[in-house]
């Protein structure tokens, strides 16, 4: 595996999408720096982006893994909010006034565990509905999104849960050295996630099932268990995202981040995830995320669209999504028409060696 470490250039050119994304990210960075260097290139700007990116990144990864298997998870934000609400309530209800340090740590630990468990359970519900009952992922997660958000609303009656312990808020607002804690958490999870997808059997099976579920079934893969695991991981990531949201904002609401779902799909598709399943990289996702985050804060700063910058952003997300999909479609069409271009990969070389071996035997 390590006998031929790929150089950066071959890596970028091998996946033209990543190369393109890198270019886009740099382009946006440069343009925005030129247009407003005083505001954009400051450490504080990057810092504020670094605090908000992680929670969104986790949600994007949750949706990505669902997309990889050919499904989708629209309930990610709902799961995040529910986990956040339950964890927040646990911390508030069970930390008495003037409690000792270890008591606080214990309750925080329990709350975090609860949030993650809730995420996994919600994910399992999704996986069960999609894998066993056979409800198409769109509808199932549409329904569970309503259900999970609805449960959050019932619990909170629409109010925000406030007043979390400082020790917990450290995870959302603290720093280790110059790095914000949430960013570090995100990097660790992203690396683990990439390892899961690329280096484990589960990851390989996910890609297989996403490419062709029928073939996967006949190969002996248990589609149901795979689906269950996929959505449980998605739920776990969403739950973690929910914990990070409440750690940063110090409030748990039932309907926070409603626009995150669309944005997450945009970054996933822009990052090279095939909406039909079977392809996608974490690096692509991260690059797309960074690009859109730059764009987003750029809009804020330039006050593009006047005081309607929020709505203008929505417009842009939609345009970006459509553009990326159209470009991908045209690109795939072009590549399908010129098969000679793909002659350098190992697959094309195999028939030669087989023929070579056969002729050698004769």
């Amino acid at each position: 595996m390590f006998d031929k470490l790929p150089s950066i250039t071959s890596f970028i050119s091998r996946d033209r999408n990543i190369g393109r994304l890198l270019g886009v990210a740099l382009f946006i960075l440069i343009i925005l720096s030129i247009l407003n260097p005083g505001l954009f290139l400051t450490v504080s700007n990057f810092k504020s982006m670094a605090y908000q990116l992680p929670e969104f990144g986790l949600l994007a990864m949750a949706i990505m893994i669902a997309l990889l298997t050919g499904g989708i998870d629209l309930s990610a934000v709902g799961i995040a909010n529910l986990s956040g609400v339950l964890a927040a309530l646990t911390m508030i209800r069970f930390i008495p006034q003037g409690a000792a340090g270890w008591q606080i740590t214990l309750v925080i630990g329990a709350a975090v565990a609860l949030g993650l468990v809730i995420g996994a359970i919600c994910g399992a519900i999704n996986g069960f509905l999609i894998g066993r009952i056979g409800i198409p992922a769109i509808l199932a997660t549409l329904g569970t999104m309503q259900l999970f958000t609805g449960i959050s609303i019932i619990i909170t009656k629409g109010y925000a849960v406030l007043g979390l312990p400082d020790a917990f808020l450290y995870f959302g607002n603290g720093t280790i050295g110059i790095f914000p804690v949430p960013l570090l958490i995100f990097i660790v999870i992203a690396v683990l996630f990439a390892l899961l997808l690329n280096k484990t059997a589960l990851g390989q099976e996910l890609f297989l099932m996403g490419t062709n579920p029928t073939a996967a079934k006949f190969t002996g893969l248990d589609n149901f268990r795979l689906t269950l695991k996929t959505y449980m991981v998605s739920g776990l990531l969403s739950g973690l995202a929910g914990l990070m949201i409440i750690a940063r904002t110090n409030s748990a609401k039932a309907d926070y981040g409603a626009s995150y779902t669309l944005q997450a799909i945009v970054v996933a598709v822009m990052g090279g995830v095939d909406p039909a399943g079977g392809a996608g990289t974490v690096i692509g996702l991260v690059l797309a995320m960074i690009s859109l985050q730059f764009l987003s804060s750029g809009f804020n700063m330039l006050r593009v669209g006047g005081s309607f910058s929020n709505y203008f952003r929505e417009l842009v997300w939609g345009v970006v999504l459509i553009l990326v999909m159209v470009i991908n479609y045209l690109d795939a069409k072009k590549r399908a028409r010129t098969p000679q271009e793909s002659g350098t990969d190992a697959k094309a070389q195999m028939p030669d060696t087989a023929a070579g071996a056969g002729s050698a035997q004769k």
Binding site: L139, L142, P275, L315, L330
Partner: protein, 331 residues
């Protein structure tokens, strides 16, 4: 007879009847004329949107942008009419809004038909584009002074009844539009080649292409029609609430899709009837409106809708799974 009893439409009808009886037993106000009119009034907009949604779902797609198209169309149309100081018949409002809606719908259709993009994600994107464009370029203020034609239309009633307090509740004329649209859509789906084509497309797109159907044309028509119906429903909505709020209607897509799927339409395409959709709309509207009658706080609504969607889609998915399993065994 057995076929009727086994169909999903019968099942939904049964559920609706049982629900009505249960709610009526708990709170007899449910069976009053005013409640009935109220339910019909709530159901008209959802119903018209559901008709368009049904056609898309039968064709194998999923459109989540129709609600945005509806409010965009009526908002723009109203602004135009006010700018022209138009005070005439409401027909112009309908035509204008429907035209705008059709254009937006065709935009969807073009992306889906020519670029073969996955319908749900595309309409997610276009919904965002339409909403952003509307709020940035058309405006964010609520229009309270509607053109006279629309107001008059909203207040016109087919029948009136007065309740115990002496207040008069009317059955809005818009229900005629809904039933008219329902009949037309039913005729199209059942008795025209176009309708057959839509069912075929939903069943298997490749097979439909090989059979010589003009898939691109059909898809353009479908999404254009959805936009057309959305535009109409937008005006109806404005006439009933007596203002045009650009933040209205958005978010009600779930209700509509739930209604269509509960009415027996298969999300994978190829199955679904207008009658079933009407039943589904009734179910959703009754659920939404009756929570209050039952004494359930309104913040339970979302979870209730979620459970409904899951139940409805779960049952149809389970049925379809058993069917295909049986086929496998036979072959």
């Amino acid at each position: 007879m057995k076929k009727i009893l086994r169909s999903s439409e019968f099942f939904v009808a049964l559920v609706v009847m049982v629900l009505c009886i249960i709610i009526g037993l708990i709170n007899p106000v449910f069976f009053s004329w005013e409640n009935l009119f109220d339910l019909l009034r709530s159901g008209v907009v959802t119903g018209i949107l559901a008709l368009g949604c049904l056609i898309v779902i039968v064709s194998g797609g999923t459109d989540v942008s129709f609600a945005t198209i509806a409010i965009f169309a009526v908002y723009l149309a109203s602004k135009i009419l006010i700018a022209w100081q138009f005070d005439g018949t409401v027909l112009v409002a309908f035509l204008l809004s429907a035209a705008i809606g059709t254009v937006l719908g065709l935009f969807n259709g073009a992306l889906i038909a020519w670029f073969r993009l996955p319908t749900m994600i595309v309409t997610l994107g276009t919904s965002s584009i339409f909403r952003g464009a509307m709020l940035v370029f058309i405006g964010t203020f609520i229009i309270n002074k509607l053109p006279q034609g629309i107001l008059a239309f909203g207040q016109a009633t087919l029948a009136q009844v007065s309740n115990a307090n002496g207040a008069v509740i009317g059955l809005p004329v818009s229900v005629v539009i809904f039933f008219g649209a329902a009949v037309l859509v039913w005729l199209m789906m059942k008795y025209t080649m176009l309708g057959r084509g839509i069912y075929a497309l939903g069943g298997d797109r490749v097979a439909a292409e090989r059979a010589g159907l003009n898939v691109i044309g059909i898809q353009l028509f479908i999404y254009g029609l959805v936009g057309f119906l959305a535009g109409i429903s937008g005006v109806v909505h404005a006439s009933l609430v007596r203002n045009v709020n650009p933040f209205d209607l958005i978010g009600t897509e779930m209700n509509v899709i739930a209604a269509v799927v509960l009415g027996g339409a298969r999300i994978t395409g190829g199955r679904g009837t207008v009658f079933g959709t009407i039943l589904g709309v009734m179910l959703v509207v009754i659920m939404n409106n009756s929570l209050i009658l039952l004494g359930i706080p309104s913040y339970w609504q979302r979870a209730a809708i979620g459970v409904l969607i899951l139940l409805g889609t779960g049952i149809t998915a389970w049925q379809s799974k058993r069917e295909s399993a049986a086929n496998l065994l036979e072959s």
